[in-house]
Symmetry: C2
Subunit: 314 residues, 2 copies
Amino acid sequence: MASGSWEEFFAVHLPPTDFEDNRSLLKEFCKRHDQYGNKIVLVTSGGTTVPLEHNTVRFVDNFSAGTRGSASAEYFLEHGYAVIFMHRQKSLEPFTRHFSGQKLLDMLDLQERGPNTTITVKPDSVFALAPVLARYQAAHAAGALLHVSFTTVSEYFWLLRAACECLAHTGARALLYLAAAVSDFYVPKDRVPTHKMQSASGPPVIQLNLVPKMLAPLVNLWVPEAYVVSFKLETDENLLITKARAALEKYKHKMVVANLLQTRHQRVILVSPDANQEIVLTREEVHAGVDIEATIVAEIVRLHADHIAGVAPR
Amino acid sequence: MASGSWEEFFAVHLPPTDFEDNRSLLKEFCKRHDQYGNKIVLVTSGGTTVPLEHNTVRFVDNFSAGTRGSASAEYFLEHGYAVIFMHRQKSLEPFTRHFSGQKLLDMLDLQERGPNTTITVKPDSVFALAPVLARYQAAHAAGALLHVSFTTVSEYFWLLRAACECLAHTGARALLYLAAAVSDFYVPKDRVPTHKMQSASGPPVIQLNLVPKMLAPLVNLWVPEAYVVSFKLETDENLLITKARAALEKYKHKMVVANLLQTRHQRVILVSPDANQEIVLTREEVHAGVDIEATIVAEIVRLHADHIAGVAPR
């Protein structure tokens, strides 16, 4: 096994403790939706951590609140997809993303009457909350949304591979929308100290290794018939398209959604083998709170339908 | 100026963009409560980040959900304190900590009747939500709780010093409860790259510097009359008391709350110059969801009252 290969990564990093529970959930979910011939999307969302200690006090994190993934999951549900929402614990989630905890408490009126106490949503908040709540309840009633969560980059990869194992049966109806911000680096297990690093021993040097590129086995081996979309976040405009196109050529998947950290909520470029398609929100749309994910998802849903139609039935 | 001094840290790191707004809020809050002779506690909560890039994609983080700080803030309010809750953005907050976004949505019943649509809390959830909501509303109606937030370690220090400037006037009635998990290390400004580190250039080495110990100027210069409590989180039992006592002797403040990562929700040791006082929850209390912070805060409130009584009036 070549050093730094994906096989080695799985050999060295043990599966997370709740792995079998999550694998059962994923299997049951995919099997149920496959029976109905539903389209299934795996949305990954949020950043992964790289622990610097076994008893983790410190870790390297990737910037991501989960805005892109959580919004996109809602739009895939609207397009009739079954959605596996694989997210960083405590990152934004579909529906609840609209209301932080405090905002929700501020919406409530308390009528204290002892055992007959009631709590109602203030009339002027019903307008904003009702449509979101209706969509939330509908998605859950239909069993169309499965949440699974990760924290470390190793937990992420274990879950990703398990989801792919289930989605392999879904064939071309499977869509992978890999919006999570996955660490490129990790600290090899044998270099992670057991206890908290002591500042008295002087400032530490953290030596990081490159994480193996999981997109290669994912596209070639795990879900070869699926429509795979990856994301590329950069801060330097000059590198953006070049790097997106290089990834596409290297991994041979269907699309890279390229975006800059500074403008990611109003502009993305859908980079596919034969086109660069720019999606830009107008200033008015940004002010009106329009989600750019509505357009991104609509476009990908259209391309995924073409992909399904073009693939020979299994 | 000695290299690595706190003066140098403030000289090199610019104040956060919303700094003046927060400083005004802090001033107004302290002035108002000082007029009434109220006791004021500064509760810091959550972890600080150390950015690895100016356009931050990656950062080193300290493990802390904000459990200790957010729970403690509620108990200080119950003891009649005015509370400055200085927390990491998106970490747990008092009152809302009891209900994640999803839990709250699950509590709601939607009665869709067009313009007369109403949303009510399900009767079986009122029992759990009503007392928390009542305390939340009371704290806000009384103007007894101020939220200010930080993300990076430099934002944390700027806010901490600003809060201390205001609390200096509060004298012995000020209590500092420094529960935030503050990074010991940072990447000096001139070594932080502007753009996202590129994995193509090979695995990076992160060289960290020691953060200056702010507890020294805080105790000696900024709030010399206040009752100052710091926290020590370790993973190695053998180091815990030794390190807590060493901090106490070095900084001459009033108390170190010592706790182990693994058992921090059921056991802490209040280390003061003349005693080690252990607080342990029974297994029954842990299962019943008792907050150990109720006991920690009650004990510190008692000691703070002694401190106020023992200090000559200003």
